[in-house]
Amino acid sequence: MTAVVPRVLPAASTARFRRPSGRIVAWVAEHTLLAVLLVLFVAPIVFVLLTSLMTVNQTLTASIWPNPFTLQNYLDAFAKVPLARWFANSAIYAVLATLFMLLSSIPAAYALARLRFRGANLIFLAVVVAMLLPPQITAVPIYVMWAKLGFTGTLLPLILPNLLGDAFSIFLLRQFFLTIPREYSDAARMDGASEWGVLTRVILPMARPGIAAAGLFMFFNSWNDYYGPLLYTSENEQWWPVSYGLATFRGSHSTNWGLTMAITMLVMVPVVLIFFFAQRVFVEGITLTGVKG
């Protein structure tokens, strides 16, 4: 041991002397690279915003800067396009799907995280497989089921299944419940609480960030969903959500990029706003899904 120390120290000290200049060069290089990348990453949004503020005539030219600036496209977005109804439909879909998912998935996730019973591992495996397999594999029989019930052409086939649990949410919630120390639930059990009591009075208050993350993911996924509405509501314009409406709208107003970009901006806004209010929760949730490996 003692023989090693003197040999190491000089190396370490020369490293310390060598560092400052090298460190500054590295710092400048890294931040220049980051700044260039940042410009590239922000540019798309800036161009979309600028185009949304142009007059129709100007969008037909190759100009980049609006002259004059106009909000006409945003007014048209609500006047000429059923944007308000699309937003309402998206809100109905996302809010109900999220509420229903929480009702059904929280107890399921708790049982898989904390109760020991035969078959728990098998059920968890089924949840993981259901979460990861492409939804297109099971789309046909599910569509047939809803068609026989007469629910195609509405958002119900996308909302109702959440009453029966959502695989990804169950997985995410279970991962979060596992991080809560067992001692808390054990103490409550000693005091005579039932499993339902432990879940509602101990786990729920402690797992609030995890539940918020699962809820946010569900909300975003429903808000952004395109495949589901394409499958079930494309035939019935009354129930189009905003993501489907935006994709389809370009067909009928194909030349008006200004209006299209105004709607694109409006579709982004709610999601970005929610993110800024719930940033912490969100990032925590994302890391939980992947990093446990």
């Binding site: 190491v8 370490a12 590295a26 890294e30 980051l34 990348l37 940042l38 990453f41 540019a43 798309p44 949004i45 161009f47 979309v48 190759a62 059904s104 107890p107 399921a108 995280a113 109760l115 019973f117 728990a120 968890f124 495996l125 089924a126 949840v127 492409p134 297109q136 099971t138 046909v140 029989p141 599910i142 569509y143 047939v144 068609a147 029966l164 499993e195 339902w196 952004n224 395109y226 499958l231 494309s234 035939e235 489907y244 935006l246 994709a247 389809t248 370009r250 067909g251 009928s252 194909s254 030349t255 990029w257 970009m261 694109t264 999601v271 994302i286 890391t287 992947g290 990093v291 490996g293």
Partner: protein, 332 residues
């Protein structure tokens, strides 16, 4: 010591008689678990187990939803492998996304995560800035990119023109439509980047210090410290990336619809899907076109069964390699 411990352990389970009280509490626990899981179990059966089996059944039938399914044996599979005019083009496009889009996204998000780990000042600002595009609803980001790259008035070609380059047709050029979507995939790489960032931040600092003391240079530290620490996360991201690429649908479908400037995606999807020249026709879109535009539900099921076989292979790899999914963790 060890033999003693294991012997008592075995004897404990074998000899001690199970008390009726213990059994009752065990049964009660099972009933509670079943009550909590009942909706989810019903959901798994109704929206996963049943349709998985039913897809296999439908794949042996001719079915248009109006009349009952009609058993035709292996006819659908024979058509799939020998006659379908577009299935191999569609499978090829999906394979292209698996082989190009997934590695490009992994490398760029790992690179950006590596830069962000080193940015100590204003780290929150940098992280948010590079993560934000991942939040943009996919349909909105596709519409935005088709506009940015549109050959007539798009800013990208305008800028290229200003520096003397004749911009290409991007989303309207069959050879550039897929690479254009890769650029979009890089723009929204934040979802993967943030997982890599967390993994890089989790690498114990002492290991770097120890390596430095041993005289390891930056490259060697990456090879012998960083890489072994993040390999599980890399595998996780790679395999989930492949599974996501196998079902690549929304971006390609919306890009085709918007770039073609023609009718909606829903009613006449067959006409627009894959524009330009089937270069964006992915396998899952082909399932959609055959199943829900042409209402050949039996044939679409055969296509779905083939997708299941391929996805199951990657799923098996993932379940083997990634600890997050092994049930042992529940016991900790």
């Amino acid at each position: 010591m060890t033999t003693f411990a294991s012997r008592t352990g075995r004897a404990g389970t074998l000899v001690v008689p199970v008390r009726p009280g213990l059994r009752r509490s065990q049964r009660r626990r099972l009933l509670t678990a079943l009550a909590m899981l009942a909706p989810a179990l019903l959901g798994l059966g109704l929206f996963f187990g049943y349709p998985l089996v039913a897809s296999v059944f439908y794949s042996f039938t001719r079915y248009d939803l109006l009349s009952d399914p009609q058993w035709i044996g292996l006819r659908n599979y024979q058509y799939l492998f020998t006659e379908d005019p577009k299935v191999w083009a569609a499978a090829g496009n999906t394979l292209w996304f698996v082989l190009i889009l997934v590695p490009v996204r992994l490398l760029t998000s790992l690179g950006v995560a590596g830069l962000l780990v080193r940015a100590r000042q204003a780290s929150g600002f940098w992280r948010t800035a590079f993560y934000l595009p991942a939040l943009v609803p996919p349909v909105a980001s596709v519409v935005a990119f088709v506009f940015l790259f549109n050959p007539g008035t798009g800013p990208v070609n305008t800028i290229l023109h200003a520096i003397g380059i004749q911009g290409p047709l991007w989303f309207s050029d069959p050879s550039l439509a897929k690479p254009s979507l890769v650029l979009l995939g890089v723009w929204v790489m934040g979802d993967v980047m943030i997982i890599f960032l967390a993994a890089l931040l989790d690498v114990p600092r002492e290991q770097y210090e120890a390596a430095e003391l041993d005289g390891a240079n930056a490259l060697q530290r990456g090879r012998y410290v960083t890489f072994p620490n993040i390999i599980p996360v890399l595998v996780f991201a790679a395999v989930t990336g492949v599974i996501a690429a196998l079902q690549y649908f929304t971006e390609a479908a919306v890009a085709s619809a918007v770039a073609s400037g023609k009718a909606s995606v829903g009613d006449s999807a067959g006409a627009v899907a894959g524009y330009p020249d089937d270069s964006l026709l992915t396998y899952t879109q082909w399932i959609y076109v055959r199943g829900f535009s042409n209402f050949q539900l039996g044939y679409a099921s055969a296509l779905a069964v083939l997708l299941f076989v391929v996805a199951a292979v990657f799923l098996a790899v993932l379940l083997r390699r990634v600890n997050a999914f092994t049930p042992e963790e529940a016991q900790s």
